[in-house]
Amino acid sequence: MTDRPELLLGGTPAARRFGLLNWLGFATFYRREMARGFKIWKITLAAPAIRAVLFASVFGLAIDRPDVTMGGMPFMTFLIPGLIAVAVLERAFESAAFSIVYDKTEGIFGDLAMLPLTPGEIVFGFVSATLTGSLMVATVVGAALFPFVGLFPFDLFALFFFVGIGSLMIGFFSQIAGLWAKKWDYINSVQTFIFLPFVYFSGVFFSLGSLPAFVQPFARANPVFYVVDGIRFAMTGQSETDPLFSALVCVGVVAVFWAISFRLFSVGYRLKS
């Protein structure tokens, strides 16, 4: 019946105690976030795969010669890891931010704020769902793009690491953006005017070496570049920077975003007014 028999006997209810982590609450919250994504799997899983295939097709058709190269490898080999990265990052951006803004505009954010979950658990719950979703997208998109070049991952561990760290980076960013956004307009603006330019100029479609020299330092200041370059290393074995350095940059950026998101949830920024 219950694990708290003292309530049945009319005893005074005591505050419930949780260990280091409220596992039940965390698991419930995680399951809700996953169910949200799965309910519209056509949009969250099938659509990214179709978009990636479309991009690969139009680039493939626009290039008339098979010997076209980019970044020292055949163009399509260069492109495929980039497209996987884009799909992962877009999915990560759309996960937490959309949940938070939806709950805020519908006025049901209290469902989450009232639970005995600490800010740390909420942040961790959101990002766990983001990470799971991104890994699934990476698998589906990778499989859909496989027929184009027949590319097998060069380093499976590195691939797992960079897909995961990229998903965490944008996942935390997505939480911050979701908290900041008061309406859907805000989140769409962040997506179009900040997120997409950062992703499109991160070396997904072209190597930074093909940019004009004076732009290159700015392009290298873009943290997304290190995610994309890392994923490209994991898929092909070649990269523009040392993958170890990329990994360090990614971990650093993730730590900063994690701290910011944690802080914002702790103070209830734009949630508890």
């Binding site: 991009f55 680039f59 769409n188 330019p197």
Partner: protein
């Protein structure tokens, strides 16, 4: 004392109430111009209110696409036909954004009204199905043209546009925008949830516009796929629109014009029929 003076104005008025004729049914001419104008005005205000999303975002996205394709491919593709890749690409991108925004305007308007239940605001006023159709269509056309013109102006910074034949450019912009606004209405009337709409956009509109020859000349395709591509109305739109700019195309522009007029007329009749019968709107 003070009460009396204060309440002076409450005294019944002696003047007789003028006799008023009982209200009559309002009469309109052939067209209820005010009703049509009001609906059109609402449709335009709808998207202007969120102009960062509806006008600025499409232009930025178009510029992003232009940049990535140019940086990635210009030195690797060189020329398409006799023109450089960028000159070939730019009209197609402008047309793609016109297509997507005309579609988005009517479909989202229909969809939102249906979900929020305020579709009756459009169904109850004394406007005929034809006027309703024209009001929505006008909104879609206006957004398509504003976005198209803004994208062209923004891209003029980077591309040396030639305007081979402005009349053809306008013709294809108009027929394409009409086609998509009407398709948006069909989608909006048919769809029951936002998921359905997202599915139409992701699985029909985006693939058709990507594979329409915006990014490559259609004669690059294998024989069979060329035949398939010629069945895609988006191909004629992009091809004809580009012909208006650069004076060369994969298909003769009169064929494209013929296809577009036919498609528009058919869609117009379909939407009109839907509104007359009240398909999925009046149950």
């Amino acid at each position: 004392m003070s009460d009396v003076t204060e309440n002076q104005h409450l005294k019944p008025i002696d003047t007789p109430v003028p006799a008023v004729a009982p209200p009559r049914v309002r009469q309109f001419g052939a067209v209820n111009w005010r009703g049509l104008w009001t609906l059109y005005h609402r449709e335009v205000k709808r998207f202007f209110k969120v102009f960062t999303q509806t006008l600025a975002a499409p232009v930025v996205t178009t510029l992003l696409f232009y940049t990535i394709f140019t940086v990635a491919l210009q030195s690797r593709v060189g020329t398409v036909g006799t023109v450089s890749f960028t000159v070939f690409l730019a009209p197609g991108l402008i047309m793609m954004t016109i297509l997507q925004n005309s579609f988005a305007n009517t479909s989202s308007s229909m969809m939102t009204s249906k979900i929020q239940g305020n579709i009756v605001d459009v169904l109850m006023p004394p406007i005929s199905p034809l006027e309703m159709l024209c009001g929505f269509l006008g909104g879609g056309l206006t957004r398509g043209f504003i976005v198209g013109i803004s994208a062209t102006l923004a891209m003029m910074v980077f591309v040396d546009f030639t305007f081979h034949n402005p009349a053809i450019i306008l013709f294809f912009a108009f027929t394409a925008s009409t086609m998509m606004a009407l398709l948006g209405m069909i989608g909006g009337i048919w769809a029951e949830k936002f998921d359905h709409m997202a599915a139409i956009t992701n699985f029909i509109v985006v693939p058709l516009s990507f594979l329409s020859g915006t990014f490559y000349s259609i004669d690059r395709l294998p024989e069979i796929w060329q035949t398939v591509a010629h069945l895609n109305p988006f191909f004629y739109v992009i091809d004809g629109f580009r012909y208006g700019f650069i004076g060369q195309g994969d298909a003769p522009f009169w064929l494209g014009a013929l296809v577009m007029v036919t498609v528009d007329v058919v869609l117009f009749l379909v939407v009109h029929r839907m509104l007359v019968t009240g398909y999925k709107l009046k149950s």
